[in-house]
Symmetry: C2
Subunit: 367 residues, 2 copies
Amino acid sequence: MKIVAVLYPGGPSAAQTPELLGCAENALGLREWLENAGHELVALTDTGDGLDSHLPTADALIATPFWPAYITRERIRQAPNLKLLLTAGVGSDHFDLAAAAERNITVAEITGSNVVSVAEHAVMQILTLVRNYIPAYQEVLNGGWDIGKVAARSHDLENKRVGIVGFGRIGQRIAARLKPFDVQTRYFDYRRLPLSDEILLAARYQALQPLIAESDIVSINIPLTPATQGMFNRQLLNNMKKRRLPSKHRPRQHSRHPRPNGSPRIRPPSRLRRRRLVSPARAPRPPLAANAQPRNDPPRIGNHPRSPTPLRRRNPPMPNRLPNRNPPRPRLHHSRRRPHHQPQLQPSLPTTPQHAGAHIHTPRAHV
Amino acid sequence: MKIVAVLYPGGPSAAQTPELLGCAENALGLREWLENAGHELVALTDTGDGLDSHLPTADALIATPFWPAYITRERIRQAPNLKLLLTAGVGSDHFDLAAAAERNITVAEITGSNVVSVAEHAVMQILTLVRNYIPAYQEVLNGGWDIGKVAARSHDLENKRVGIVGFGRIGQRIAARLKPFDVQTRYFDYRRLPLSDEILLAARYQALQPLIAESDIVSINIPLTPATQGMFNRQLLNNMKKRRLPSKHRPRQHSRHPRPNGSPRIRPPSRLRRRRLVSPARAPRPPLAANAQPRNDPPRIGNHPRSPTPLRRRNPPMPNRLPNRNPPRPRLHHSRRRPHHQPQLQPSLPTTPQHAGAHIHTPRAHV
């Protein structure tokens, strides 16, 4: 069997860091095992012609979403032996699922393999943004010590309201990690968690629009599908909280101190600046998924041809419900759906399901 | 009464952000209240001559450790009316405590006012360092996409061993925030917490040397005193863990897969690079406390003249016990000591004791 893996170039790090399995040089750590079993493994970095030359003989194809090889209908046509399209990670929107389904090609990814990494990354980014870390770091690197400039945009995360849109494996892990920061967590998803899980994660359900309007921080953890693409449009972003942050920096009224007789009552300054952490969108931009496309790559085509939503819709209606995570889609013959009532995370269990094995999975963005 | 506050210059942010109370322009939000009560408040940024000109008439003096006005014995001599030296925050090592005690001047700070901020900052820095965030951010800003270079130094925090040296208000809050990241937390302090607190914080006690040798991450949260200055010397840093990190990037042996008959057993690569996250110290450097001194400022003098430890000792003995948090020190007449057996943090209570009021406090570094 010939397995073709399109992976990122590790460069000098590949040899220095053998743990760096995802690069083409280290070939996911599979070379010895596959070749000992009599298979052929081709690991390459070229997502263009280099890949095309192997298509006619490839039995299985492995790719990743952060060094994407877009497997279009045309490329699937050029690969008559193809039986498996495998994402080394999570996210299969670089595969044309409809074309794969028509040919009865298995599409698989390693569901859950990166949920801890993404949750840690999200908490890190929340902290760095709220605390204004990188501008402060740059200030010091540049030899400055302008405390006012840095502190004016620096806040504690404590007591802030965090809205998590999409409360699956990643969203729940973010909530679990934020809980001891004493934040007020709200979440929105197409289904509500059992109360016991909400209590464990200290997260309350809230509809999308009030969540957006009332949160100091919004974390988006939903799959990229035609139905969710452009969901966070100008209208929704403009609806974000504009009031100043509730903060320990708020001037106190010293009401506990006795006032001298006849002295005027002290009021907080009236010219409190209204601001938001995230600036509203100014002009329509191509969606992030398009930005991730490498140059000179064939254009990505729609994954959900039966979906009524066009891929680029200028002014999509503001959603007040998340689309179902399992929208109508081309049927994958090997698909094993998870029943809806089964919680995706048992918060009382250790959260280490990494590399738990490959699961046939619905298309998901690399979030 | 004349109160002189030496605070950082807020610049344009002072007017735009009235919540920025700590700058000289906003004078800690105290001006209206103090002046209505008939007091005089002078807020200035000049830690040199500008301050000196007010010393002869000052009754109280407010300063901060991050824009430090060093109140030396000579300056105390020039202030015959001085009754109070107040830190707007935590950390009083910019005051000559011995000289203040001889004059019966109260030294006070707002104990606990910044513990949440510091704990959040420490967790943020742990995440950014372990995940290699700033180099990755710079890589993308520079238009690069060298995944290998960035990923080779990027790790998940999960399953790492975190050693917290100094387990007071800040250290315990760091442990509480790290707990859901599924780390293995060890702590070292001069006293051990009750078992119930250890269980709540998922932290185990460990002596300093094994903690340093076995931790992937070390967070130092101890006050700066002559006894702790230079404690993390070359010898201790060289003792830090050199083994590669336990990581999900470790190559798997695929032992669960059946081996074809006669095929060699697959072993992990033998040339695994030994490395550490923190480079060992190369040459003695002045302590951080000296680096924080502004230029052209009078030299800081020892705060603990009765302490036998000289301020700069080239090769201090490696400590295996933290010095008691309350070392022999000049007696402050107004000092209210916290009894030793009282836990500093009740983990089951809400952790929001910010601005709970001024406490007379032992000298502590701004950690």
